[in-house]
């Protein structure tokens, strides 16, 4: 029975996500049934190459800035005795859960309100600025998880011989180097794949070009050839760091860490608190504040109008995201179980590669595969959106669950097995109660990510299934900025409510009499 579930789940995933992508890759080498590289010649034109270089440069800048900022805060929040550091740690993560386009809209509002910055925000520098704000928390998580797992003994041994500064440069930095490199690569891949922020800021990059070629000019061949180039860049970078990234130890609801050696801050702590508050303002307070002001400015009715315009999309979004999160939870659990308990680690690599596929590229793959008479029943309904969510976020869901399963000794299940408990009973009575907080976290984080998905959804959504991000994106060009802001604020509030559920629910689930220790 256990093997039947494994096989059905793996085949379902292959059919729904992997085959569409493979079909797209293979078809790009054929024209009228004959092998050709003709489509790739389109990529070699000056304009496309320029866009590619622009995207690479932009992603490089974001990766560098985010890793520097994330690394700095990872250090201060993990390795020092900074007051309120747990609160900072929690709030700094918020931008990671807010849909990138909402942060883009709020900063557009900010520059509109303060006049002369419009040129800046509607430029590649604006994109770099916003993406750096969005991805810095990711770098922070990766680097701080590495720092938290660094045993205090390494530094204490060093302290017998040298100074604190030397210990940081000669012991700590070399030991966390893999995390720093992984953070850089992951942010680079996510930035070069990012569609919504450049699209909202009208900055033409490689992903927006793919979207334009596909949806505006119906130039499928060029869109696919461009997509393959992007897949090649992303996947080869991820593969270079596969040993660290495929395992993704940083994607966890409750990381076990060593005893960390803390640096005692003296007078510098006041300056550091100021820096942390300033960053908090940039990443969370200003976006929320500005969106709120802009939404209600001049006309109180605008918020009501935004709500009525969005109401159907809210229902759609919540319903599809809920369905998507359930699917992600199921597939994520089965894959995590196969990876952790059956020790089939190759599954992590497949999921990592899927994660590296840019959202617009996934969208094109799904359209090409499902837009056929036989599979049209999937393509014409909301299931195609759910499949998009599955392809986009399965890596995150699987990692969150597998890092929770990893903390439960296999012997817990084996002793139940020896007593005669079936596979289902072992899962139900032993494993599920022990990983309930991880499952809950994976479900809600998946739900939040699905709520904000734009790149794939905007390509695949059939008529009548428009979701919140699409509505905001499409209305933006023809509506006053305050309406776009009000809509973004509503989306933001829904995300924040889901986040509150996440934190309170997680607290309730982890507050029990028993403990794993």
């Amino acid at each position: 029975m256990k093997k039947t579930i494994y096989i059905i789940t793996i085949f379902a995933f292959l059919f729904l996500v992997i085959f569409p992508l493979l079909t797209m890759v293979v078809s790009s080498f054929f024209k009228n049934g004959n092998f050709t590289l003709e489509h790739y010649l389109y990529v070699l034109n000056k304009g496309t190459l320029f866009l590619l270089l622009k995207s690479i440069g932009l992603a490089f800048a974001v990766a560098l800035i985010a890793t520097l900022i994330g690394g700095f805060f990872a250090f201060t929040l993990t390795k020092t005795n900074l007051p309120m550091k747990n609160i900072f740690k929690l709030i700094f993560l918020i931008p990671l859960f807010i849909s990138p386009y909402i942060i883009a809209v709020s900063w557009v509002d900010f520059f509109i309100m303060f006049g002369n910055g419009k040129l800046f925000i509607y430029s590649p520098f604006g994109v770099i600025f916003i993406l750096s704000l969005i991805f810095s928390p990711l770098s922070m998580i990766i680097i701080s998880s590495s720092l938290a797992n660094l045993s205090a003994r390494f530094e204490e041994a060093g302290l017998m011989m040298t100074t604190n500064f030397k210990i940081i440069t000669k012991i700590v930095l070399p030991l966390i180097k893999p995390a720093i490199i992984s953070s850089f690569i992951l942010v680079f891949v996510l930035s070069i794949s990012e569609f919504s922020v450049p699209a909202f800021l009208s900055v033409n990059v490689f992903t927006t070009e793919i979207f334009t070629q596909f949806s505006a000019f119906y130039n499928y061949d060029l869109a696919v050839a461009n997509s393959i180039v992007l897949i090649f860049i992303c996947v080869s970078l991820l593969l270079a760091e596969r040993y660290y990234l495929a395992d993704a130890p940083f994607l966890s609801m409750s990381l076990k860490s060593h005893k960390v050696k803390l640096i005692e801050l003296k007078r510098s702590k006041y300056f550091l608190i100021f820096i942390h508050f300033s960053y908090l303002s940039l990443s969370v307070i200003i976006p929320v504040l500005v969106l709120s002001i802009q939404s209600f400015q001049g006309n109180e009715a605008i918020f009501g109008k935004a709500f009525s315009l969005l109401s159907v999309n809210i229902i759609n979004s919540v319903f599809y995201s809920f369905t998507g999160a359930i699917f992600l939870l199921f597939f994520g659990f089965v894959f995590a179980y196969i990876s952790e308990r059956e020790k089939i680690k190759s599954i992590n690599l497949v999921l990592l590669i899927t994660f590296g596929i840019p959202s617009t590229v996934l969208g094109i793959g799904l359209i090409k595969f499902f837009n056929t008479p036989i599979l049209n029943f999937i393509y014409s309904g909301y299931w195609i959106i759910v499949i998009g969510y599955l392809g986009r976020f399965i890596f995150i869901a699987e990692k969150l669950i597998s890092n929770t399963i990893k903390q439960i000794p296999l012997s817990f299940e084996e002793s139940a097995k020896l007593m005669g408990a079936s596979f289902f009973l072992r899962i139900k009575k032993v494993l599920f109660p022990l990983i309930s907080d991880g499952l809950f976290g994976a479900f809600l984080i998946s739900f939040i990510f699905c709520l904000g998905e734009l790149g794939t959804t905007i390509l695949v959504y059939p008529p009548g299934t428009s979701v919140m991000p699409i509505k905001v994106y499409t209305i933006m060009a023809n509506a006053p900025q305050s309406l776009t802001s009000a809509m973004s604020l509503i989306v933001l509030l829904i995300t924040l409510i889901a986040l509150i559920f996440l934190f309170t629910g997680h607290k309730i689930l982890t507050k029990q009499k028993w403990s794993l220790d």
Partner: protein, 238 residues
């Protein structure tokens, strides 16, 4: 007849050989210790007997019945009537002492569950702890709960994988003697894995010394202490 018989068993994990063509018989009703250093393969032997691992070659017979063959488990773990005490004890942290012990009885749909649990709790002196969670018990009490959880199912054989490894020396001696006295009152075959030769000499009727997946020597504690085998001599001198 031997209750457990391993015939030409080999087992590798990846390319690393763990058990190398081992054959051994374990007598019914005896306390047998598998003695060896870390990584010698003794835990793997225990897991093979329990049906938690498949062997690469050879056969395993329980009471004369073939239960494992090359890459095949012919009799599932749950039907082997074996109790297993894991090194980490594997007490389910979300279940109370009572619920931990009731788990197996409920699966086997046994009658008078409450009476049976009360009896075993009473026997092990754990009655007052029945509603506690494992993390609310001392290390010694946790050992007793793990043993009670296995014995309540009346297994024919109890496999113990270094159950005292995580205790300090003083507590280890105390618990070891206590366990020995308690288990002596159950008619059961015990296979006990340890790297501590003092523990093996104290507890065992029969000792099997294992090194690099091979048997170096077998015999009573007295026989092993007099062994002429170079490895055994060095190992028990440490």
């Amino acid at each position: 007849m031997a209750i457990v018989s391993l015939q030409n068993i080999s087992k590798s994990f990846g390319k690393t050989p763990i058990i190398n063509n081992i054959s051994l018989d374990i007598e019914e009703g005896k306390f047998t210790c598998l003695l060896g250093s870390s990584g010698s393969g003794k835990t793997t032997i225990l897991r093979l007997i329990a049906g938690l691992e498949k062997s690469d070659s050879g056969k395993i017979l329980l009471n004369g019945k073939l239960v494992n063959e090359k890459n095949k488990i012919l009799l599932p773990s749950s039907k082997r009537e074996i109790g297993f005490i894991f090194q980490d004890l594997a007490l389910w942290p979300h279940l109370t002492v009572y619920e931990n012990i009731a788990f197996g009885l409920n699966i086997k749909k046994e009658e008078n569950v409450t009476i049976k649990i009360s009896a075993i709790l009473d026997f092990f002196g754990l009655e007052e702890h029945r509603n506690k969670y494992p993390n609310q018990l001392s290390g010694g009490q946790q050992q007793l709960v793990a043993i009670a959880r296995s014995l309540v199912l009346k297994p024919k054989m109890l496999l113990m994988d270094e159950p005292l490894a995580n205790l300090d020396v003083k507590l280890k001696t105390k618990i070891r003697n206590h366990i020995k006295n308690l288990i002596d009152q159950f008619p059961i075959t015990i296979i006990y894995v340890t790297h501590d030769h003092y523990e093996a000499f104290k507890l065992a009727d029969e000792i099997i010394v294992i090194n690099n997946g091979k048997i170096e020597d077998t015999g009573s504690p007295e026989d092993i202490q007099k062994s002429e085998n170079t490895f055994v001599k060095e190992f028990i001198e440490i």
